[in-house]
Symmetry: C2
Subunit: 157 residues, 2 copies
Amino acid sequence: MEIRNVESSDYYVISPLINEWWGGRQMSDMLPKLFFDHFNNTSFVAEQEGEIIGFLIGFMSQSQQEVAYIHFVGVNPKQRKKQIGKQLYNEFFTVAKKNNRNVVRAVTSPVNKVSIAYHTKMGFQIEKGNKEDDGVSVFSNYDGSNQDRVLFFKKVD
Amino acid sequence: MEIRNVESSDYYVISPLINEWWGGRQMSDMLPKLFFDHFNNTSFVAEQEGEIIGFLIGFMSQSQQEVAYIHFVGVNPKQRKKQIGKQLYNEFFTVAKKNNRNVVRAVTSPVNKVSIAYHTKMGFQIEKGNKEDDGVSVFSNYDGSNQDRVLFFKKVD
């Protein structure tokens, strides 16, 4: 497996894969092409024999100088348990540190238990929100009406 | 009218406004909260008597050092013809130049004739794509299947 920076043209491979990897959920709208054009130096693709098996789209916050933000991570469900996600996150932590960021942030939905467990395993902490959902602290209506979110952060300095 | 930088909390005012201003089209998904958290120093709000009447969300491309990118602009349809958009764009051009960017880019749909006419009036040129749509050069499937786009650029140096 190789990890490299995202290229603009990867959009046309990854975008159709997303809905497939998420079991038909309409997720690709969350990742318009601009993320493949303007954040290449902090976004990564994992490839095996020329096939994309995982990716991480992240950026250095432009207005919060200490923050690096992970927007979207996907791994081919047939390729799980191979530490692909872990390697992508580690690549991002490295680039965050190089850019003098001391905290990496990410956001997920409370229903996404796999993501919550995964981020916790990767050393992320959960920010205290304004209510609890199934034992997890969440921010209610964070991403709009009825769109509660779990906010993660991890110190990387 | 006053123009100021976007604040994180503006998301909760602007997001519900978007679908209203776009006549019920589901547009707010294009503008998740992250744009209000991480690009505040290059995004602007126009306010009149404490009411938001327009906004521009843009950023400095992180991987294309010469490019500044405008992601989303909205003006209250009841407040058109008051140069609100023009002032927001000019504010963005100024911040782009301050950040040593020499080109501002933006993307729109070929169906959005108002946006095409507006960008042209504001001095944007249209990048030559791979086909024509109603006399306008477009990039076919640029933002996914059947999602043709018009690409604008404007030199600001």
